[in-house]
């Protein structure tokens, strides 16, 4: 498939959801058929849906909370138990859209003022419009499998991370700076691949991965970049005009031990039997990894002393691609055009990265890239990020 063909498809895909609500919807005045754009008024004791029937396809419920309690709205299956889709946390006076693809059949609508109880229910009939709707496979099973695969990947990566971090810390404590510098970027790759997971544990990310500029006055700096600066000490001119003071042996030991300790925390949390990572978190994580690339790596701000940004860059892309791949079957069915676009653009970005090295062989130092090369990389990241930002809606819309 040519590049321009992919571009055209992406554009169509971007426009379609809107068109589905507008163009394909003749409205009651035109045809007498029920609308796909429905309104719902949720009050203390009523759940008024503008129509009890709608044609199959993409339906939009504009749910207004006309009551005084927080409310939520559900579309339930014929058994009254299976949640087809829901919108929660609607404050009084607010309106939220629930956009959902629905096949022909019998459903129930339900408002839940106060967010308690079974809700105020009514039967809702979806007639056959003749349109193909959504995936045909068992989406729930596919998503469960995706979640299992992703958690396995995360466990694998943090396993490699703790081993590498220990080795790195040992070399650094022993004063073997050359070895520590060699291990630095290659070890961080395992961190950068699963960074959204680490970020989901709150404090771990700032403790281990904060950059100097991220700190507030008087705050203690720690983690990878703290050691990075010591391994690649800056000239005074690059250090706010003051001479960089190398860490003492005691400071080195503490920095190294802290890093290992926090990494072990991450390992423990990920290996806790209760640890799960849901499908929407996986797809959001993929987008976040690319955002990380766009804001930090492609600008050379992440590894300001070592200039090993391309390693992190590759690792973020690896992590995003893996996240996409575990969801790929679901996306293939729900939105094959999006799947094709993402596959193509991942390949394009990875091809471009491969021109500058690999995790195994090492990468070009960021400060040796030309402005043109950085721009090319950035353009490829943006080209991938835009369709990737639609992944969660596709995955959760199933």
């Amino acid at each position: 498939m040519s590049r321009s063909r992919v571009g055209a498809l992406a554009l169509v895909a971007l426009v379609l959801p809107l068109a589905a609500c507008v163009d394909n919807d003749p409205g009651p005045a035109a045809s007498g058929a029920p609308e796909r754009a429905l309104t719902v008024s949720s009050t203390q004791d009523a759940c008024d849906v503008s129509s009890a029937t709608a044609p199959s396809g993409t339906l939009t419920f504009a749910v207004t909370n006309d009551g005084s309690d927080v409310t939520e709205f559900y579309l339930l299956g014929e058994d009254g138990l299976r949640v087809v889709s829901e919108v929660e946390n609607i404050g009084p006076g607010l309106t939220r859209d629930l956009v959902v693809q629905v096949r022909p059949g019998t459903y129930y609508t339900a408002c839940k003022p106060g967010m308690v109880g079974d809700g105020i229910r009514a039967e809702f009939t979806v007639t056959d419009s003749g349109e193909a709707v959504g995936p045909t496979g068992d989406a729930a099973e596919q998503l469960a499998a995706a979640e299992d695969q992703y958690v396995a990947y995360v466990k694998d990566q943090v396993g490699a991370l703790i081993a590498g971090t220990q080795e790195f810390a040992d070399a650094y404590k022993a004063g073997d700076d050359e070895k520590a510098r060699e291990l630095y970027a290659a070890t961080r790759v395992h961190w950068e691949r699963v960074e959204p997971v680490a970020e989901s544990f709150g404090d771990l990310d700032p403790l281990t991965d904060a950059r100097e500029a991220d700190l507030e006055d008087g705050q203690t700096w720690s983690g990878w970049h703290y050691i990075e600066k010591d391994l690649w000490p800056p000239l005074a001119a690059d250090n706010g005009g003051t001479e960089y003071v190398p860490l003492t042996d005691a400071e080195r030991t503490k920095a190294a031990d802290d890093l290992v300790g926090w990494t072990q925390d991450l390992v423990d949390q990920v290996n806790d039997p209760a640890f799960t990572f849901e499908a929407f978190q996986i797809s959001n994580g993929a987008k976040e990894l690319l955002d990380e690339v766009a804001t930090g790596k492609v600008t050379g701000e992440e590894e300001i002393w070592s200039h090993t940004d391309l390693w992190d860059f590759q690792a973020n892309v690896d992590g995003a691609r893996l996240a996409y791949e575990v969801l790929e079957d679901v996306v293939e069915e729900a939105d094959p055009d999006l799947a094709a676009t993402l596959t193509e653009r991942f390949a394009a970005l990875e091809g471009l990265l491969a021109e500058h090295g690999s995790v195994e062989e090492g990468f070009t130092s960021y400060d040796e890239l030309t402005a043109q090369q950085v721009k090319e990389l950035s353009t490829a990241v943006d080209a991938l990020s835009e369709p990737l930002s639609r992944l969660t809606a596709v995955v959760t819309g199933v």
Partner: protein, 455 residues
């Protein structure tokens, strides 16, 4: 008068506006004088009505407070920070005198000098640059402020004998988390904020003031802004920032006189509590400027759910997520599914709310900016934040520390420029010297903005 009484005066051009200038000093003869040549008199049609009444509004230049603070926020901004290049106190005073006169003229729709752009001695450059000659005053206000470096240089030098007048609150702002400040876009000895409803009028003002500064001060950095991102009066609707959200819903408004005294204007008590003599700043305020770049592209790829959660308001109406309409007070106690607050703990509206900040409020006067693009083809755009506060130590620094550290929006923001300036009070009504044509003139004893600082 108090600033809260300021209203635009879109009346006929020329005569009426000039009458505003000198207050009671102007006699009928002066008002009627036809001798005023050049300037923008040509904009007045034969019957004395304005040619562009829609944007012809003028705000008084004189008053208890400087204009451009509680004045209804105009659409455009051009702000310039200056480095003073002279080390002679008299030269600095002379500059402020020239600036005061020019600002008094420009804000009333007059040319920078008495001859204007197209008359005067033929062998001399015109005393006005001319690009605003046919334009109405467009609500122009010009506001002046003093940076900490004017009082004490970085090396501790008392440059102009002002060190013992440095207000305690004119501090060096701390490094906030994630700051990426560019020194070339930060600080400065003097600041001039020009606001107008026409960008050409605002740029014209700064251009003529910088021209008048050559030899005494030079521009350090400037910022153009458009699309005001706050409302300073209840008569204005709430505008939107570049994230597409309404901005300034809870802003301090000109109508809230008591709150302005409490949160914006420096009072006698503050001056009395200072370790230095800062009585010169009574009825003044502090201007905080922050250039906040927005990661527009990544924001635009963010789900509506996350955008609203980070802001804490709906994108359409601007209602707090706890419910209600735009001006409904957010209820931080309301919880939803699993007991989580509807207005998230890391949402902007919660962290910036007075109830989370010891009740302090600030008067914001920010603008959107778009300075082209960076080398990666991304918009170099964002919010040029301006706030006027009574004391930055209580009214800005604690809140910004919290926001920089905890605000979920910070993932999409980068502070790239910064400035803090003490804004002296206005010059009293009727104190300006006027020439025979009734327009202000500069003499060696002209009153000037910040005069009390030098007395």
């Amino acid at each position: 008068m108090t600033g809260t009484e300021q209203t635009p005066e879109p009346g006929p051009r020329g005569v009426t506006r000039r009458a505003l200038l000198g207050g009671g000093l102007l006699g009928a003869a002066a008002v009627g004088a036809a001798g005023f040549v050049g300037g923008r008199a040509t904009a007045t049609t034969g019957d004395g009505t304005a040619s562009g009444t829609a944007a012809a509004g003028t705000y008084p230049f004189t008053g208890r407070h400087q204009a451009g603070i509680v004045t209804p926020a105009q659409d455009r901004l051009y702000l310039a920070a200056f480095d003073v290049t002279t080390d002679d106190r008299e030269d600095l005073v002379a500059l402020l005198q020239r600036w005061t006169t020019i600002a008094a003229r420009l804000t009333q729709g007059l040319s920078a000098g008495p001859f204007g752009a197209a008359s005067g001695p033929y062998d001399a450059p015109p005393d006005d640059t001319g690009e605003a000659a046919d334009l109405p005053a467009a609500g122009l206000t010009i506001t002046f402020g003093f940076g900490r470096s004017l009082f004490v240089a970085a090396d501790g030098t008392d440059r102009f004998g002002l060190a013992d007048r440095l207000p305690d609150a004119l501090v060096e702002l701390p490094h906030f988390p994630a700051d990426a400040l560019d020194p070339a876009r930060s600080d400065g000895d003097l600041v001039v904020q020009a606001c107008a409803d026409d960008p050409q009028v605002a740029v014209h003002a700064i251009r003529n003031l910088s021209r008048a500064a050559f030899g005494a001060a030079t521009i350090r950095w400037t910022q153009l802004g458009y699309g005001r991102t706050s409302s300073t009066t209840t008569a204005q609707s709430t505008p939107r920032n570049l994230f597409g959200f309404k901005d300034g819903t809870a802003n301090l408004k000109a109508e809230e006189g008591d709150a302005l005294e409490r949160h914006v204007w420096v009072g006698e008590d503050a001056a009395a509590a200072d370790s230095h003599d800062s009585s010169w700043l009574v009825d003044g305020t502090y201007l905080v400027a922050r250039r906040i770049r927005m990661q527009i592209e990544t924001w635009d790829r963010t789900s509506l759910r996350e955008q609203e959660a980070l802001v804490g308001r709906t994108k359409g109406e601007g209602a707090p997520l706890s419910g209600g309409e735009e001006f409904t007070e957010p209820d931080f106690e309301v919880t939803g599914r699993e007991g989580a607050p509807l207005v998230a703990l890391n949402s902007h509206v919660r962290l910036a709310h007075p109830t989370q900040n010891d009740g302090v409020r600030m008067l914001r006067r920010g603008y959107n900016f778009t300075d082209g693009n960076d080398s990666l083809g991304r918009l170099d755009a964002g919010l040029f934040f301006i706030a006027f506060v009574r004391d930055p130590r209580t009214h800005y620094i604690p809140m910004q520390t919290t926001l920089s550290r905890d605000d979920g929006l910070m993932e999409y923001l980068q502070h790239t420029g910064s400035g803090l300036f003490a804004v002296p009070p206005g010059i009293p009504d009727g104190s300006l010297r006027t020439g025979s044509d009734g327009t202000p003139i500069t003499t060696s004893d002209s009153p000037f903005v910040g005069q009390a600082l030098f007395s």
